[in-house]
Symmetry: C2
Subunit: 279 residues, 2 copies
């Protein structure tokens, strides 16, 4: 790996999902302050253990910047009743994100339904339902971050599987103040369209999630790697993201059952080291 | 699932990998005849237990059509010496494919190397090395079937991750008599470019592999599903493949540790049933 010059630590963000199993919300907030990390993403299931108002109170005075509330969505169902309930839940998440002062709400589309199996109509349904959320998000001043997931999540989690699809959706939604795009190295690294679509995304990029693809990946969802431990040219992607105009946080987000077993303080020390050597 | 009209059984092909663990080469050949299946793909590791000449002898008089020898490739390495060895191995595979009278040799590109991590140069290296195999394959009258694998195989098995890349490579190679494309439902089903790129591929399509994506997929390589058990609109993809001009076999190829535990005769009965209801 080529030597990386040290990056500005004030742009390092740490995702709560990294330490989901070992630390409560309060332990997480305290840990971030102890390690002088200034920006965090909040995991929605953890937030809901307390409610958004209580979490906002816990955050008051800490100086912690909240990059996003993660996640809401799963609005791809072909059933209109289920769709309406799912949309109501996204609206609640928008309120929660506003309550804790998050920059954005991470949006995960939902997968293909076995009752349907039609990808084209599923994708169209998601865009139509997103359009219906525009004024609600605008009123709350919350950016909805469309998060392309890896194509291997198409069945189970999201039919939004490439940056090109995200750009196409943003074009169709015509609400650049509301809909942004979250880039995740894990989701997009393989994509030959990446340079072109990052340039096209430009100011739409509102979150940048960083983690690595392990050569011996054991699980489709919970085996992401620490930056530097895998095959992704993370510095190359970071440079393209920043050349596209993104100036925000570089957020380490590692969904990993392996890392969940580790001591959070040790993990944070490794993240801070890798931020300089592998990001 | 919508009712499918019965398909022509003479176009059903069965991949040896489906019964890799329970049946020897001879048991496989005998099983295919017993179940009146007329076309097969041969798994290269199995072939090498006997050598191509011996397998050709076993096939003589059976009437079995060999759609492909599967697989060779893995020529993505940045190391020139390793690259030269890998190319020699592909040449041996071309000879083996010719010896058993296969239509094509399934080509798997190879993944990203940790010494390199550069996807663009890795892909270019594969195309350059493929170009060097053109005259060899032409002399042997073997089609090299470029097989896009799912993007989740990019690190470990293949940097050829979409049909668009395969079409771009065919354009660059300028040898339409030698280089074809193998469509695998599992690799391409999520791709919004699929309709356009299938039409673009047209007569390049030389193999069509069918299997399903299970909602609860447990493994990145060995948990493919029986057609009908998953989320893929297989009939929809088959119709597009055939509308593009493909008239060849519909080959059931299920890499699955689950199915390897089952009785091969039972599996074949289920494949024949699903060929009519889910393909």
């Amino acid at each position: 790996m080529a030597h990386q010059p040290g990056l500005n630590e004030s742009l390092l963000a740490f995702h709560q999902v990294n330490v989901l199993q070992k630390w409560s919300m309060q332990q997480f907030i305290d840990g971030m302050r102890r390690h002088h990390i200034g920006a965090i993403a909040i995991w929605r299931d953890k937030l809901r253990e307390h409610g958004a108002t209580a979490v906002a109170r816990m955050l008051t005075g800490t100086g912690l910047h909240v990059t996003s509330l993660c996640a809401a969505g799963l609005i791809a169902t072909p059933d209109p009743g289920e769709g309406a309930s799912a949309i109501e839940d996204v609206k609640r998440a928008i309120e929660e994100a506003a309550t804790i002062g998050a920059d954005s709400l991470m949006f995960v589309a939902g997968g293909v339904d076995p009752r349907d199996k039609n990808l084209e109509s599923t994708r169209q349904r998601v865009v139509d339902r997103l359009a219906g959320l525009t004024s609600h998000a605008r009123a709350a001043d919350i950016r909805i971050a469309l998060a392309p997931l890896h194509p291997m999540a198409c069945a189970s989690r999201s039919v939004l599987n490439s940056l090109r699809i995200a750009n196409d959706w943003c074009d169709a939604l015509e609400a650049e103040d509301v809909f942004g795009i979250a880039i995740d190295t894990y989701a997009v690294w393989w994509d030959p369209d990446l340079p072109r679509e990052l340039a096209r995304a430009g100011k739409r990029i509102c979150n940048f999630h960083i983690n690595d693809w392990l050569e011996d990946t054991q699980d489709l969802r919970l085996d992401r790697g620490m930056p530097g431990d895998g095959l992704i040219d993370i510095p190359g992607i970071r440079r393209m993201v920043e050349a596209a105009g993104y100036t925000g946080h570089r957020e380490i987000e590692i969904f990993s059952a392996r890392w969940w077993q580790r001591d959070p303080d040790e993990m944070i020390r490794i993240v801070k080291e890798r931020y300089h050597t592998a990001v």
